[in-house]
């Protein structure tokens, strides 16, 4: 079992709010690779079951990672599912954490990817402390 400080969790929430919710992302979730939810924020429109989502996302990410290794890749850098009105983007933050964003058609994938790179750097820094 492990934990991080309240200050670290608050800093992560601030980064997610300022950098991702502010550009129109509907829901952002930070999970660990075991499927635990570390942080979850939304714009009040989220009706999804976060615990189940985190478990499935961790499993999905691990399965895709294992597939990458089977074809000789270290990892697949882009995990993205496009839906009609909601899309999901997955990124690895570090060895322990994954960042998942759920967003609508009003957010461009390119801009989101730029933003997530920035967010990942900042979460890594917060987590390492």
């Amino acid at each position: 079992m492990y934990g991080v400080s309240q200050e670290q969790l608050e800093k992560i929430d601030t980064v997610l709010t300022d950098e991702l919710l502010s550009i129109g992302v509907h829901n952002v979730i930070v999970i660990d690779t075991a499927g635990n939810t570390i942080s979850q924020l939304d714009r009040g429109e989220c009706s999804c079951d976060v615990a189940s989502f985190a478990a499935l996302a961790a499993g999905n990410f691990a399965a895709v990672d294992a597939m990458a290794k089977l074809v000789g890749e270290e990892e697949f850098s882009l995990h993205f599912h496009r839906g009609e009105s909601e899309s999901i983007h997955f990124s690895r933050v570090n060895e322990d954490l994954l960042l998942i964003t759920i967003f609508g058609n009003d957010v461009s994938l390119g801009f989101l990817r730029l933003k997530t790179v920035e967010v990942i750097d900042r979460i890594r820094e917060i987590w390492s402390k």
Binding site: M1, Q6, T33, A51
Partner: protein
């Protein structure tokens, strides 16, 4: 590895039901889902094959109330039991806090139980975990089949095959009827709670 969220005052604990194929892992979760419906806020997630066998895992989050002011959320997973899905079993074991090993008491399943336990030891080892050190409960399932004239292994034989080294708490159970399903879960929860208390101290 369970996560203690000091901000939300919440603890998430991962318990995996592991064992040979068709041993009753999913049936355990289905019974718990039905029995504790009022405590479970969401639907049970099952990723199944067309033949209704577990393909990836089943997932059921159960809130068990507060300990030391923390909301305890137990996240129950099963692994797919079929031999060919070992890569998936390994993935599901990542970060596990406690294991319920569901063994099948039918005589013809003896080898499968032993092989599954051995493979679990290897899979845990690949995550740098020692099977002998992780909270584990043994469940000898399908004891109800005795009444249907099916040849079962005795409790002693099961112990000798699977629990000599582990010396884990053990229950004979029937996941179909619910017999000892909740007792198994309670024992598992108390095992992981001891680890949580140690962590808090």
């Amino acid at each position: 590895m369970g996560f203690i969220n000091v901000k939300k005052k919440e603890v998430q604990i991962k318990v995996v039901y592991y064992g040979p194929g068709r041993g009753g892992k999913t049936t355990n979760l289905e019974y718990i889902n039905e029995k504790f419906r009022e405590r479970i806020k969401t639907e049970m997630v099952s990723i199944k094959t067309h033949g209704d066998r577990t393909l990836f895992f089943d997932f059921l989050p159960v809130d068990i109330g507060k300990i030391h002011g923390f909301d305890i959320k137990i996240q129950l997973y099963t692994v797919p039991g079929q031999v060919k899905y070992n890569a998936t079993r390994k993935l599901v074991l990542k970060g596990v806090d406690g294991i319920v090993f569901v063994a099948d008491m039918q005589k013809e399943r003896r080898e499968s139980n032993i092989k599954a336990l051995e493979q679990m030891r290897e899979n845990l080892f690949s995550h740098n975990k020692d099977m002998l050190k992780i909270p584990l409960v043994m469940q000898y399932n399908k004891c109800d089949l005795k009444d249907e004239g099916i040849e079962l292994l005795s409790f002693e034989e099961m112990e000798q095959d699977l629990n000599q080294e582990l010396k884990a708490p053990t229950f004979e159970a029937s996941a179909v009827t619910g017999y000892n399903v909740v007792t198994t879960l309670k024992k598992m929860i108390s095992g992981t709670m001891i680890a949580f208390r140690k962590e808090l101290q």
